[in-house]
Amino acid sequence: MPVESDSRPIIEIRNLDKFFGAFQALADVSLTVNAGERVVICGPSGSGKSTLIRCVNRLEEHSAGELIVDGVELNDETTNIRAVRMEVGMVFQQFNLFPHLTVLENLTVGPIRVRKISRADAEDRARKFLERVHIPEQADKYPAQLSGGQQQRVAIARSLCMEPRIMLFDEPTSALDPEMINEVLDVMVELAGTGMTMVCVTHEMGFARKVADKMVFMEDGRIVETAPPEQFFENPSSRRCRMFLDQILDH
C-alpha cells in the first residue's frame, strides 16, 4: 500500500563510481529517490550497499559521478556538508550509541549542539520520540543497560530527534537476536507510515514487501535491478536476483 509520494526527487545519484585504492566498490550507479519514497536495497555481501548509502551523507566520498541530496550537490567543493547531514539521519548495524551518555543525552546532544535548540526543548522532543519507539521508561539508563533491540530503537530515535527529511538504514536488524528483530521493524514500519523518505539496506523481505515503493538489487558494485516490489518479488528480470531471492527467502 504505497502512500502517494510527491514526485520531487530528494536524492539523485548519477553514474556514481567509488574506488577504495584500486578496488572499485561502486560502478556507474544511478538511482533517484523521491521525497516520501521508501527504497529497499538488497544484495549479497560486499556488493556495495553500505558504500552507496554512506555516500549519501558523505561518510564516504564518491570518486566520480554526480550526487545531489536535498538540493545540494555533494562534492569536494561542498562547504555545508553539515547542513546536509542534519537532514539525513543514519541508523547503523552496530547502533553506535554514545556509551558515556544516558539514553536521553544520546537523543539531545545532536539537537542541542547542532540544531542549537534549548535543553528543555531538546528533552521534550527526545521524550516524544522515545514514546514513538516505545521505550519512554528507559530515558535515564545507559545504552549498555538496554537490550540490542532497545538500543537500536534508541538509535532510530536519536536520528529522528534531528527531524531529518531522509532516513538511511544500514542493515539495522542484522546485529540483533532473532526475537528482537520485529520490535525494530515495527518501529520502522510505523515511521514509513508518517511519510518519511527512507532508504533501507536490509534482507528482511517481509518488511520490504510491507513498506517498499522501490526495490533495488545490487551485485559487484552495480545496480542490477530496480523494480516495484510486486514485480521484484514475483518476476525479477535478472537470473542473479532470482537466485538471491530464492536463497534468502528459503530460510
Binding site: L59, R82, A83, Q94, N96, F98, R113, V114, M162
Partner: protein, 300 residues
C-alpha cells in the same frame, strides 16, 4: 599425584634459592655497613633528623616545618600544578597526533621524538633557559612576585605558592616539568583517542556535528575515562621526575636534601629520609589510585 610431588620438589628447590639470595643480600648489606662504620668512621646521628622535619619555633611557640618538610611541600605543590598544566598540554598534543592535518601531526610527532631522544637533564636545561626564563622575564613575573611578597595580607598567595620571593623559580619548575611530562601524557591521550571506535565518529558526523563537537562531546569524554589509570601512574612518575628540577635551583625536596647533606654532613641519614618521604608519597598515591580503580570497576 605426580603433579603434587613435582610441586613439592619445586618448593624445596625454591627454598634453597631463596636461602641463597637472602644470604647474598645479607652479606652485601653487612659489607656496606662495615665500610661505613669501620673504614669511613661514620657517626650516625639519626636523632638529629626529626629536627629537620619539624622544629619548635620559640618565637611563635609552634611546631613549624623545617627544610625537609618545606622541600616536600614544594615538591607536592609543583607536582600538582605541573600535572594540571601537563594534562592540558597533553590533551592538545594527543589530539594533534590524531588529526588529519599533516603539518599539525608532524609538529606533535617532532616534539615527542625530541623529548624521547634527548636525555631528560638536557631537555630540562633547554626548556629552562630557552622557554621558562624568557617567559618569566617577558611577563615581568619577578617584580610582580616581589610586590606580592611585600604586601601584608598575602596569606592566600603563600598558601598556594609558598614564599612569594621564590615564586619565579617555582613557576619555572612547573613550566619545565609540565613541558617535559606533556609528551608522555600526550601519548597516553592519543592511545585513548585511538581506542574509540570509528562508529562513534561516524554517528556524531551523521548527526551533523562538527569535528570540534565530536571531539569534545563524544570522543574525549570516552577516551579520557579509558586512560585514567595510566594517567594516574603518569602523575606518580611526575612526582619522581620532579627531583630533576632541583638542578634549576627550585627549592624542592631533593635540593633541600642536597643542602642539608652538605651543611650537616649527615649524608646517609638525609638521603635515606628523603627516599622514605618520596616512597611514602608515591606508594600511598599508588595504593589510593589502585583502590579507586578497583571501585570504579566494581561499580560498572
Amino acid at each position: 599425584m605426580s603433579g603434587a610431588t613435582r610441586s613439592r620438589k619445586l618448593m624445596k628447590r625454591l627454598h634453597w634459592v631463596d636461602f641463597l639470595i637472602m644470604a647474598v643480600l645479607a652479606a652485601f648489606f653487612l659489607y656496606v655497613w662495615l665500610q661505613i662504620e669501620g673504614k669511613l668512621n661514620y657517626i650516625w646521628r639519626w636523632d638529629q633528623i626529626p629536627n629537620y622535619l619539624f622544629f619548635y619555633d620559640e618565637r611563635t611557640e609552634r611546631w613549624t616545618a623545617n627544610v625537609l618538610i618545606q622541600g616536600l611541600i614544594t615538591t607536592i605543590r609543583i607536582s600538582i600544578y605541573a600535572s594540571i598544566l601537563a594534562l592540558i598540554l597533553g590533551v592538545i598534543l594527543g589530539i594533534a597526533r590524531t588529526v588529519t592535518n599533516l603539518t599539525v601531526r608532524m609538529l606533535a610527532r617532532t616534539y615527542l621524538e625530541f623529548l624521547r631522544n634527548i636525555p631528560p637533564l638536557v631537555v630540562i636545561f633547554i626548556f629552562y633557559f630557552f622557554l621558562s626564563e624568557q617567559l618569566i622575564a617577558a611577563m615581568n613575573i619577578e617584580d610582580w612576585a616581589y610586590g606580592v611578597a611585600r604586601q601584608e595580607d598575602n596569606d592566600v598567595w603563600e598558601f598556594f605558592f609558598g614564599d612569594m620571593r621564590r615564586f619565579p623559580s617555582l613557576i619555572s619548575g612547573v613550566i619545565v616539568l609540565a613541558l617535559f611530562e606533556s609528551a608522555f601524557v600526550g601519548e597516553i591521550v592519543r592511545a585513548g583517542i585511538e581506542s574509540i571506535g570509528r562508529g562513534q565518529r561516524e554517528a556524531s558526523r551523521s548527526l551533523g556535528m562538527s569535528w570540534l563537537d565530536e571531539t569534545r562531546f563524544v570522543v574525549m569524554p570516552q577516551a579520557l575515562r579509558k586512560v585514567l589509570p595510566p594517567l594516574a601512574n603518569q602523575f606518580i612518575s611526575l612526582i619522581k621526575d620532579s627531583a630533576i628540577i632541583s638542578l634549576i635551583s627550585v627549592q624542592d625536596l631533593t635540593l633541600k636534601t642536597v643542602d642539608l647533606a652538605n651543611s650537616t654532613a649527615m649524608i646517609f641519614e638525609a638521603w635515606l629520609t628523603t627516599a622514605a618521604l618520596y616512597f611514602t608519597l608515591c606508594f600511598s598515591l599508588s595504593l589510593f589510585f589502585r583502590r579507586l580503580e578497583a571501585r570504579g570497576k566494581s561499580a560498572h
